[in-house]
């Protein structure tokens, strides 16, 4: 039997060893977590779903994809006009149906292999293949035979038609030919849209060989994924960050300035602003509404109109909302000015139509502005004078403070002006989507961001039975106008047809427009090559840090009073190798 002394020593020794071990473990784990800061950090708003261009749908994914991949075209940072990307030139046939792209010969993947037309052929086929389950596949249905290829499937889900029925083919190693169903003026724009970015055929095929049962996930790992854009993925930590470094095989690497970029996944508004203000991030995409007033005067916050609309869907299949007079009465009593000015506060524009302003060549249609008298008269006409007999209205929205406030203000207005008793009903995101899809609501909050700079991306939502319609509304004349516009070559004529369609929409009002979006980015003043634009699309290949001289010049050019703030970034700036040579040469 061990002596009491011995037992005590053993126990104490054990305790001490445990403690030391724990402490050491803590230190070890702690040291492993540290990372050198990147040259540039921006916040993405959430962790991305995937890095596979074919299966993404979200704006955050788009931001990362535009850094690591490149499509046939890139866009000018200010005007969003298409510029040569992977395609160094293209040719459109007379009838607007055939596009011929010349793939850049010096374009390379991050593993050194050249980018060929075959890669694009493979990528588009994969994109349209129903088994890939690409959400945005319908964006390529402008191509001849593509829709049938994706939609017509056998019972296993495999496509019935052969891909040769689709109007995509290669001619030689660096020529890609695409044939469309009908002339589509925004098709070139679409080629810069992130779901249509190419993937490396060699990358995926070798992954399939190497890991037959987990290649679908493996090829996307940072150590395996092969990309053709200005940056490549170094490593990822879920819900933390994605570390990107400059891709030395990128064809235009000479003009890429920043060496490494961190993409953060902070979701809370307050936290992301705090991280920005304390120097942890250099670009964020949302502002905490509490401090909008303080932010508006700063030089790093300049909201501009954004291609998005915030509106309420009305369930047209449910009486009394099937009566257009009721719907118009509801629309006439929405206090849009108050909402834009007092709740949103960032310069949002009150909306009276579906399509936001700023699309060149398009004139939007507008419904009547606020008019309580007329509203009351209409409601009386519909048989609900003073709101008598009108059922309790439920405003449905997904849980968010902004939506709640807007709903409250609108409910109050409907009550006061029309005597309609309105209640609020908020649901968690997924449940909210489900409710909206099954038309289980009276009035439901909605928003739509345009995919490309053309009214069609908004207007074609509301064709009869469209899967993003979700109101139960349909109008044969509207459908006809949309179809006609799709087949029209002449741009002016086309815009006019779309305008006529929108006029029907704002007359019938299956939706109640509320406001048009503005961008909410807060960008470090020193960041160059970054401009606010209507699609809030930015291509990291253009970004660089300005030096103090350039920053001062930029500041001298401000119109109006802007509060100067910490510019972030290195005082000597960070320029691309080409720019450095230019400066040295001068």
């Amino acid at each position: 039997m061990p002596t009491p002394q011995g037992a005590r020593f053993r126990r104490q020794g054990l305790a001490a060893a445990l403690f030391v071990g724990l402490f050491g473990g803590v230190l070890y784990l702690a040291s492993g977590a540290r990372l050198k800061p990147a040259d540039f950090t921006f916040n993405n708003g959430t962790e991305v779903t995937t890095l596979d261009p074919a299966t993404v749908t979200g704006v955050p994914e788009g931001r990362v994809l535009r850094a690591i991949f490149e499509g046939l075209v890139v866009k000018d940072p200010l005007t969003l006009a298409p510029e040569p990307g992977m395609a160094e030139s293209w040719n459109i046939s007379e009838d607007g149906l055939t596009y011929t792209f010349q793939i850049r010969k010096e374009a390379r993947w991050s593993d050194g292999h050249p980018v060929t037309a075959e890669d694009f052929f493979y990528s588009f086929q994969r994109f349209l293949d129903p088994r890939t389950a690409a959400y945005y596949a319908y964006q390529l249905w402008y191509v001849r035979g593509a829709k049938a290829y994706t939609e017509q499937v056998d019972e296993k889900g495999a496509p019935l038609n052969d891909f040769s029925s689709v109007g995509i083919r290669t001619e030689g190693t660096h020529t890609l030919v695409v044939e469309l169903e009908a002339p589509t003026p925004f098709f070139i724009d679409l080629m810069g849209f992130y779901p249509i970015f190419p993937v490396s055929r060699r990358n995926i095929e070798s992954a399939k060989e190497q890991w037959p049962d987990s290649w679908e996930i493996r090829w996307l790992r940072p150590e395996n994924i092969v990309t053709n854009g200005p940056y490549k993925v170094l490593h990822r930590r879920v819900n933390d960050r994605i570390r990107l470094v400059k891709n030395e095989f990128y064809w235009d690497a000479d003009n890429v300035a920043l060496g490494s970029i961190d993409v953060l996944a902070i979701e809370q508004d307050a936290t992301m602003l705090n991280v920005y203000l304390t120097g942890g991030a250099d670009l964020i995409d949302r502002v905490n509404t509490n401090v909008v007033r303080e932010m508006m005067v700063r030089e790093d916050f300049s909201p501009v109109p954004y291609l998005g609309t915030y509106f309420y869907r009305v369930n047209v299949t449910k009486p009394p909302y099937d009566d257009p007079r009721v719907r118009e009465a509801l629309s006439l009593t929405i206090p849009r000015e108050q909402i834009s000015r007092d709740i949103m506060k960032m310069g949002q524009i009150p909306a009276y139509g579906l399509v936001p302003p700023g699309i060149p060549g398009y004139k939007g249609a507008e419904c009547r502005k606020e008019d309580s008298e007329r509203a009351r008269a209409l409601l009386a006409e519909a048989g609900f004078a003073d709101g008598e007999g009108f059922p309790a209205l439920e405003i449905h929205y997904n849980t968010s403070e902004a939506h709640a406030q807007i709903a409250q203000v609108i409910a109050l207005s409907w009550q006061r002006e029309l005597g309609i008793r309105a209640k609020l009903r908020n649901e968690e995101w997924k449940v909210y989507l489900d409710t909206q899809n099954t038309l289980n609501f009276d009035v439901s909050r909605a928003a739509w961001i345009g995919d490309y700079v053309d009214p069609n991306t908004f207007s074609d939502m509301f064709v009869t039975g469209g899967e993003n319609n979700k109101t139960g509304w349909g109008n044969a004349e509207y459908d006809q106008l949309i179809a006609d516009a799709a087949a029209t070559v002449d741009p002016a004529q086309r815009m006019d047809l779309l305008h006529q369609a929108e006029t029907i929409l704002v007359r019938e009002l299956p939706i109640l427009p509320i406001y048009f979006y503005v961008t909410q980015n807060v960008a470090a003043p020193r960041l160059g090559g970054y401009f606010e634009n209507i699609q809030d699309e930015h291509f990291p290949k253009h970004w660089y840090w300005m030096d103090d001289e350039e920053l001062a010049a930029k500041r001298a050019g401000y119109t109006g009073d802007k509060e100067l703030v910490d510019p972030h970034g290195p005082p000597q700036g960070m320029y691309s190798p080409a720019e450095m040579r230019r400066r040295a040469g001068q």
């Binding site: 890095l51 939609e151 933390d240 936290t271 968690e428 995101w429 997924k430 489900d434």
Partner: protein, 329 residues
Amino acid sequence: MTRFLLRRLLWFVITMFVVMSVSFVLMRSVPGGPFDQDRNVEPAIELNLKRKYHLDWPMWKQFLHYVGPLNLDERGMFGEGDRKGEKTFGGVLSGDFGPSFRYRDFTVNDIIGQSLPISALLGVIAMMWALSLGISTGIASALRRGTGLDLAMRLAATGGIALPNFVIAGFLIICFVFLIPLFPVAGWGSIRTMILPGFCLGLVFAAYISRLTRTGMLEALSQEHIRTAHAKGLSPRTVVMRHALKGGLLPVVSYLGPATAGILTGSLVIERIFFIPGTGSHFVNSANNRDYTLAMGVTILYTVLVYSLNLVVDLIYTLLDPRIALEDE
């Protein structure tokens, strides 16, 4: 001892089974699926998406496939086609928690593998704060019973449990991040980022531990054998440290189980405030995203942790107090 461990193991298996089935059913019964998006999908595409993740199978089949150890899809023993027999084993029982529905580039194993060390570290730091603050204040409070110090400490301890931890975190952020820029506002990397979150998380438990230590010590101090020790002429310090402390620590030890469970839950909020990529953040998000596999994975992890911790605590308890036998109460 063996019989005790075996019984615990048996109940562990039963608990796991119940937890898995209940969670499985609960999750799939809630409206909304993992692939619901603002923009609706073509029905053909939606069908294919469901097929890819076996969401078109009946619930029992999905459950069996998830639990394993046999792989039920076309690559398993019961599959058809040319891939039959390729990958016979799968599911939780063969260590594969499936692909995440929300973070499609990662498997659940990957995500938990990345986030668990972080949460563990945070938890350990929180526990260290809790124990050191709690025990020291508890002892001081017990020894100086009735004095102003005692009252102040008791007040502070009770104050720690009178406010939600995110409010306290808010206070501390205002003081030590904005007013006096000592710590970064969010993130996880250097040691400096770990101090504040650990403290906020551990504070509540420090308060409880302080109270428990104080009560335990007071009770121990009033025991007969303490009087004997004093009478024997031992220095007060020896009396405290060797005799009273052990008795005082007993309730603390039995509290460690619920404390760790509480740290796991509390970390949900702390990880969100301080942007720490730990498992806690996945807990709520996965339910909201209807990421079935990740939600199940984290649930299982949580259950295993709590269960094993309770077991360890029971064992330690016996070591500390030989009067207590290992019984299945």
